[in-house]
Protein backbone atom coordinates (compact mmCIF):
# COMPACT_ATOMS: atom_id res chain seq x y z
CA UNK A 1 0.00 0.00 0.00
CA UNK A 2 1.37 3.39 -0.87
CA UNK A 3 1.88 5.77 2.07
CA UNK A 4 2.63 9.46 1.90
CA UNK A 5 3.85 12.07 4.31
CA UNK A 6 0.97 13.71 6.13
CA UNK A 7 2.48 15.75 8.92
CA UNK A 8 4.57 15.80 12.04
CA UNK A 9 3.69 15.59 15.74
CA UNK A 10 5.04 15.03 19.22
CA UNK A 11 4.70 11.77 21.17
CA UNK A 12 6.56 9.99 23.97
CA UNK A 13 6.77 6.66 22.09
CA UNK A 14 5.80 4.92 18.87
CA UNK A 15 2.45 3.63 20.11
CA UNK A 16 1.32 7.05 21.25
CA UNK A 17 2.65 8.54 18.02
CA UNK A 18 0.29 6.28 16.05
CA UNK A 19 -2.61 7.23 18.30
CA UNK A 20 -1.78 10.94 18.05
CA UNK A 21 -1.44 10.66 14.28
CA UNK A 22 -4.83 8.97 14.15
CA UNK A 23 -6.33 11.79 16.21
CA UNK A 24 -4.62 14.69 14.48
CA UNK A 25 -4.53 13.54 10.84
CA UNK A 26 -7.34 11.04 10.16
CA UNK A 27 -10.33 12.91 11.59
CA UNK A 28 -11.92 13.38 8.18
CA UNK A 29 -11.50 9.85 6.91
CA UNK A 30 -8.09 10.47 5.34
CA UNK A 31 -6.47 7.23 6.26
CA UNK A 32 -6.69 3.47 6.60
CA UNK A 33 -3.11 2.84 7.67
CA UNK A 34 -0.46 4.84 9.53
CA UNK A 35 3.32 4.64 9.55
CA UNK A 36 5.25 6.77 12.03
CA UNK A 37 9.00 7.40 11.92
CA UNK A 38 11.12 9.27 14.42
CA UNK A 39 12.36 12.52 12.90
CA UNK A 40 15.91 11.53 13.94
CA UNK A 41 15.72 8.45 11.76
CA UNK A 42 14.91 10.31 8.58
CA UNK A 43 17.83 11.07 6.26
CA UNK A 44 16.89 13.92 3.97
CA UNK A 45 18.41 15.64 0.96
CA UNK A 46 19.60 19.17 1.55
CA UNK A 47 17.57 22.01 0.00
CA UNK A 48 20.81 23.65 -1.14
CA UNK A 49 21.57 20.59 -3.32
CA UNK A 50 18.36 21.12 -5.24
CA UNK A 51 20.14 22.32 -8.38
CA UNK A 52 22.56 19.43 -8.98
CA UNK A 53 20.02 16.83 -7.81
CA UNK A 54 16.83 17.72 -9.66
CA UNK A 55 17.42 20.33 -12.35
CA UNK A 56 19.26 18.00 -14.76
CA UNK A 57 16.00 16.05 -15.24
CA UNK A 58 14.11 19.14 -16.34
CA UNK A 59 15.27 19.16 -19.99
CA UNK A 60 15.16 15.41 -20.58
CA UNK A 61 11.66 15.12 -21.96
CA UNK A 62 12.64 11.90 -23.75
CA UNK A 63 12.54 10.16 -20.38
CA UNK A 64 8.76 10.49 -20.38
CA UNK A 65 7.04 7.78 -22.39
CA UNK A 66 4.87 10.39 -24.10
CA UNK A 67 6.14 10.02 -27.67
CA UNK A 68 4.40 6.77 -28.51
CA UNK A 69 1.33 6.67 -30.69
CA UNK A 70 -1.36 4.69 -28.96
CA UNK A 71 -3.73 2.82 -31.31
CA UNK A 72 -7.32 4.02 -30.92
CA UNK A 73 -8.67 0.62 -29.95
CA UNK A 74 -6.41 0.51 -26.87
CA UNK A 75 -8.46 3.31 -25.29
CA UNK A 76 -7.23 5.55 -22.49
CA UNK A 77 -4.01 4.56 -20.76
Amino acid sequence: MSHRHFGSLHAPNAEMAIKNARDVYTRRNEGVSIWVVQANDIAASSPSDKGPLYEPAEDKVYRHPSFYKIPDDIGAM
Binding site: L9, H10, A11, E15, M16, K19, N20, D23, V24, R27
Partner: protein, 254 residues
Protein backbone atom coordinates in the same frame (compact mmCIF):
# COMPACT_ATOMS: atom_id res chain seq x y z
CA UNK B 1 -44.74 -8.55 30.02
CA UNK B 2 -42.65 -5.83 28.45
CA UNK B 3 -40.37 -3.42 30.22
CA UNK B 4 -42.09 -0.28 31.52
CA UNK B 5 -41.83 2.84 29.40
CA UNK B 6 -40.54 4.79 32.36
CA UNK B 7 -37.73 2.31 33.06
CA UNK B 8 -36.66 2.47 29.43
CA UNK B 9 -36.84 6.28 29.44
CA UNK B 10 -34.73 6.46 32.62
CA UNK B 11 -32.22 4.01 31.14
CA UNK B 12 -31.82 6.15 28.03
CA UNK B 13 -31.47 9.34 30.07
CA UNK B 14 -28.77 7.69 32.18
CA UNK B 15 -26.87 6.69 29.06
CA UNK B 16 -27.37 9.96 27.21
CA UNK B 17 -26.76 12.24 30.19
CA UNK B 18 -23.47 10.50 31.00
CA UNK B 19 -22.14 11.07 27.49
CA UNK B 20 -23.60 14.59 27.25
CA UNK B 21 -22.11 15.86 30.50
CA UNK B 22 -18.72 14.22 30.01
CA UNK B 23 -18.61 15.46 26.41
CA UNK B 24 -19.31 19.00 27.62
CA UNK B 25 -16.61 18.70 30.30
CA UNK B 26 -14.03 17.53 27.77
CA UNK B 27 -15.05 20.33 25.43
CA UNK B 28 -13.92 22.80 28.10
CA UNK B 29 -10.32 21.82 27.30
CA UNK B 30 -10.66 22.76 23.63
CA UNK B 31 -7.88 25.23 22.89
CA UNK B 32 -6.41 24.87 26.40
CA UNK B 33 -4.94 21.35 26.57
CA UNK B 34 -1.23 21.04 27.39
CA UNK B 35 -0.24 19.93 23.88
CA UNK B 36 -1.80 20.20 20.43
CA UNK B 37 -2.04 16.42 20.11
CA UNK B 38 -3.90 16.14 23.42
CA UNK B 39 -6.15 19.03 22.54
CA UNK B 40 -7.32 17.37 19.34
CA UNK B 41 -7.57 13.93 20.91
CA UNK B 42 -9.79 15.22 23.71
CA UNK B 43 -11.95 17.18 21.30
CA UNK B 44 -12.36 14.02 19.19
CA UNK B 45 -13.43 12.08 22.27
CA UNK B 46 -15.84 14.84 23.23
CA UNK B 47 -17.38 14.76 19.76
CA UNK B 48 -17.71 10.97 19.85
CA UNK B 49 -19.58 11.32 23.14
CA UNK B 50 -21.80 14.08 21.75
CA UNK B 51 -22.64 11.90 18.75
CA UNK B 52 -23.65 9.08 21.07
CA UNK B 53 -25.69 11.52 23.16
CA UNK B 54 -27.73 12.50 20.11
CA UNK B 55 -28.69 8.85 19.53
CA UNK B 56 -29.56 8.16 23.17
CA UNK B 57 -31.54 11.33 23.77
CA UNK B 58 -33.39 11.17 20.45
CA UNK B 59 -34.50 7.66 21.34
CA UNK B 60 -35.32 8.79 24.89
CA UNK B 61 -37.64 11.46 23.47
CA UNK B 62 -39.35 8.89 21.21
CA UNK B 63 -39.80 6.43 24.06
CA UNK B 64 -41.20 9.11 26.34
CA UNK B 65 -43.73 10.02 23.66
CA UNK B 66 -44.24 13.63 24.72
CA UNK B 67 -42.68 15.12 21.62
CA UNK B 68 -39.40 16.15 23.26
CA UNK B 69 -36.40 16.24 20.91
CA UNK B 70 -32.74 15.54 21.73
CA UNK B 71 -32.23 19.31 21.99
CA UNK B 72 -35.19 19.78 24.33
CA UNK B 73 -33.82 17.10 26.63
CA UNK B 74 -30.26 18.43 26.56
CA UNK B 75 -30.95 22.15 26.75
CA UNK B 76 -34.22 22.59 28.59
CA UNK B 77 -33.97 20.32 31.62
CA UNK B 78 -32.56 21.57 34.91
CA UNK B 79 -30.18 19.88 37.36
CA UNK B 80 -32.75 17.70 39.13
CA UNK B 81 -33.87 16.09 35.88
CA UNK B 82 -30.40 14.93 34.86
CA UNK B 83 -29.54 11.26 35.39
CA UNK B 84 -25.77 11.20 34.81
CA UNK B 85 -23.42 9.72 37.39
CA UNK B 86 -21.63 12.20 39.64
CA UNK B 87 -18.24 11.17 38.23
CA UNK B 88 -18.79 12.78 34.83
CA UNK B 89 -19.88 16.16 36.22
CA UNK B 90 -16.74 16.53 38.35
CA UNK B 91 -14.67 19.52 37.20
CA UNK B 92 -11.59 19.09 35.01
CA UNK B 93 -9.16 20.46 37.63
CA UNK B 94 -5.72 19.57 36.21
CA UNK B 95 -5.00 17.31 33.27
CA UNK B 96 -4.37 14.39 35.61
CA UNK B 97 -7.88 14.62 37.03
CA UNK B 98 -9.35 14.91 33.55
CA UNK B 99 -7.55 11.76 32.41
CA UNK B 100 -8.33 9.81 35.57
CA UNK B 101 -12.04 10.65 35.28
CA UNK B 102 -11.89 9.57 31.64
CA UNK B 103 -10.08 6.34 32.45
CA UNK B 104 -12.59 5.31 35.13
CA UNK B 105 -15.55 6.16 32.94
CA UNK B 106 -14.16 4.64 29.70
CA UNK B 107 -13.63 1.21 31.21
CA UNK B 108 -17.10 1.13 32.74
CA UNK B 109 -18.55 2.56 29.52
CA UNK B 110 -16.94 -0.08 27.34
CA UNK B 111 -18.32 -2.93 29.47
CA UNK B 112 -21.78 -1.36 29.56
CA UNK B 113 -21.85 -0.84 25.77
CA UNK B 114 -20.66 -4.38 25.10
CA UNK B 115 -23.53 -5.66 27.21
CA UNK B 116 -25.99 -3.28 25.57
CA UNK B 117 -24.96 -4.37 22.08
CA UNK B 118 -26.66 -7.70 22.89
CA UNK B 119 -29.83 -5.91 24.02
CA UNK B 120 -33.21 -7.48 23.35
CA UNK B 121 -34.22 -4.02 22.12
CA UNK B 122 -32.42 -3.59 18.80
CA UNK B 123 -32.76 0.19 18.94
CA UNK B 124 -30.42 0.23 21.95
CA UNK B 125 -28.31 -2.58 20.54
CA UNK B 126 -27.60 -0.71 17.32
CA UNK B 127 -26.51 2.49 19.08
CA UNK B 128 -24.30 0.49 21.45
CA UNK B 129 -22.69 -1.53 18.65
CA UNK B 130 -21.75 1.68 16.85
CA UNK B 131 -20.45 3.33 20.03
CA UNK B 132 -18.33 0.34 21.10
CA UNK B 133 -15.83 1.07 18.32
CA UNK B 134 -15.34 4.64 19.50
CA UNK B 135 -15.14 3.75 23.16
CA UNK B 136 -12.67 0.90 22.60
CA UNK B 137 -10.27 3.56 21.37
CA UNK B 138 -11.08 5.94 24.25
CA UNK B 139 -10.36 3.19 26.78
CA UNK B 140 -7.07 2.20 25.17
CA UNK B 141 -5.92 5.78 25.01
CA UNK B 142 -6.82 6.73 28.56
CA UNK B 143 -5.22 3.56 29.97
CA UNK B 144 -1.97 4.28 28.14
CA UNK B 145 -1.86 7.84 29.46
CA UNK B 146 -2.60 6.71 33.03
CA UNK B 147 0.35 4.31 32.78
CA UNK B 148 2.64 6.88 31.17
CA UNK B 149 1.89 9.56 33.76
CA UNK B 150 1.52 7.29 36.80
CA UNK B 151 4.85 5.67 36.04
CA UNK B 152 6.34 8.94 34.82
CA UNK B 153 8.09 11.62 36.84
CA UNK B 154 7.75 12.17 40.59
CA UNK B 155 5.45 15.11 39.88
CA UNK B 156 3.22 13.27 37.39
CA UNK B 157 2.97 10.24 39.69
CA UNK B 158 1.97 12.44 42.61
CA UNK B 159 -0.72 14.18 40.55
CA UNK B 160 -2.17 10.94 39.18
CA UNK B 161 -2.34 9.40 42.65
CA UNK B 162 -4.05 12.53 43.93
CA UNK B 163 -6.57 12.33 41.07
CA UNK B 164 -7.23 8.65 41.77
CA UNK B 165 -7.74 9.30 45.48
CA UNK B 166 -10.20 12.08 44.75
CA UNK B 167 -12.14 10.36 41.95
CA UNK B 168 -12.20 6.71 42.98
CA UNK B 169 -15.03 7.34 45.46
CA UNK B 170 -17.15 8.35 42.45
CA UNK B 171 -16.56 5.01 40.66
CA UNK B 172 -18.91 3.04 42.92
CA UNK B 173 -22.00 4.79 41.56
CA UNK B 174 -21.28 3.39 38.09
CA UNK B 175 -22.21 -0.07 39.38
CA UNK B 176 -25.10 0.93 41.61
CA UNK B 177 -28.15 -1.18 40.79
CA UNK B 178 -31.74 -0.18 41.53
CA UNK B 179 -35.25 -1.40 40.68
CA UNK B 180 -35.07 0.21 37.23
CA UNK B 181 -31.88 -1.71 36.45
CA UNK B 182 -33.48 -4.95 37.70
CA UNK B 183 -36.46 -4.37 35.44
CA UNK B 184 -34.22 -3.70 32.42
CA UNK B 185 -32.00 -6.70 33.09
CA UNK B 186 -34.98 -9.01 33.55
CA UNK B 187 -36.20 -8.11 30.09
CA UNK B 188 -32.75 -8.43 28.52
CA UNK B 189 -32.61 -4.72 27.71
CA UNK B 190 -29.42 -3.81 29.59
CA UNK B 191 -26.87 -5.62 31.76
CA UNK B 192 -27.09 -5.18 35.54
CA UNK B 193 -24.49 -2.52 36.41
CA UNK B 194 -23.35 -4.58 39.41
CA UNK B 195 -22.53 -7.49 37.08
CA UNK B 196 -19.91 -5.36 35.31
CA UNK B 197 -17.90 -4.59 38.42
CA UNK B 198 -15.61 -7.67 38.55
CA UNK B 199 -14.38 -7.12 34.98
CA UNK B 200 -13.94 -3.40 35.71
CA UNK B 201 -11.92 -4.05 38.87
CA UNK B 202 -9.75 -6.60 37.07
CA UNK B 203 -8.95 -4.15 34.29
CA UNK B 204 -8.37 -1.35 36.80
CA UNK B 205 -5.94 -3.48 38.81
CA UNK B 206 -3.86 -4.33 35.72
CA UNK B 207 -3.57 -0.72 34.59
CA UNK B 208 -2.99 0.76 38.06
CA UNK B 209 -0.27 -1.81 38.82
CA UNK B 210 1.54 -0.90 35.63
CA UNK B 211 1.04 2.78 36.43
CA UNK B 212 2.51 2.20 39.94
CA UNK B 213 -0.63 3.77 41.46
CA UNK B 214 -2.40 2.40 44.53
CA UNK B 215 -6.14 1.93 44.50
CA UNK B 216 -7.84 3.43 47.56
CA UNK B 217 -9.04 0.71 49.93
CA UNK B 218 -12.04 2.59 51.28
CA UNK B 219 -15.17 1.41 49.48
CA UNK B 220 -17.21 4.55 50.25
CA UNK B 221 -19.07 5.74 47.16
CA UNK B 222 -20.68 9.10 46.42
CA UNK B 223 -24.00 8.56 44.70
CA UNK B 224 -27.27 10.18 43.77
CA UNK B 225 -26.61 11.32 40.20
CA UNK B 226 -28.11 8.47 38.21
CA UNK B 227 -31.21 8.31 40.40
CA UNK B 228 -31.57 12.09 40.35
CA UNK B 229 -31.56 12.16 44.15
CA UNK B 230 -28.75 14.69 44.43
CA UNK B 231 -26.15 16.08 42.06
CA UNK B 232 -22.96 17.84 43.14
CA UNK B 233 -22.82 21.63 42.96
CA UNK B 234 -20.73 21.39 39.79
CA UNK B 235 -23.56 20.29 37.49
CA UNK B 236 -25.50 23.56 37.76
CA UNK B 237 -22.46 25.56 36.69
CA UNK B 238 -21.86 23.24 33.76
CA UNK B 239 -25.49 23.51 32.65
CA UNK B 240 -25.38 27.29 32.95
CA UNK B 241 -22.59 27.50 30.40
CA UNK B 242 -24.01 24.72 28.20
CA UNK B 243 -27.62 25.90 28.14
CA UNK B 244 -27.42 29.70 28.41
CA UNK B 245 -27.93 30.34 24.71
CA UNK B 246 -31.17 28.34 24.46
CA UNK B 247 -32.30 29.88 27.74
CA UNK B 248 -31.53 33.45 26.68
CA UNK B 249 -32.74 33.06 23.07
CA UNK B 250 -35.34 30.29 23.14
CA UNK B 251 -35.57 28.38 19.88
CA UNK B 252 -32.42 29.98 18.41
CA UNK B 253 -31.13 27.92 15.49
CA UNK B 254 -27.57 27.40 14.26
Amino acid sequence: MTVSTDALFQCLLRLGDNTLILGQRLGEWCGHAPALEEDIALANTALDLMGQTRHWLTLAGEVEGKGRSEDDLAMLRDVWDFRNVLLVEQPNRDYGHTLMRQFLFDHYHLLMLRGLSESADSRLGDIAAKSVKEVTYHAERSAELIIALGDGTEESHMRMQEALDRLFPFAGELFETDAIDEDLAQHGIAPLPSSLRPAFEAQLDIVLAEATLSKPTDSFAHKGGRTGFRHTEHLGHLLASMQWLQRAYPGAQW
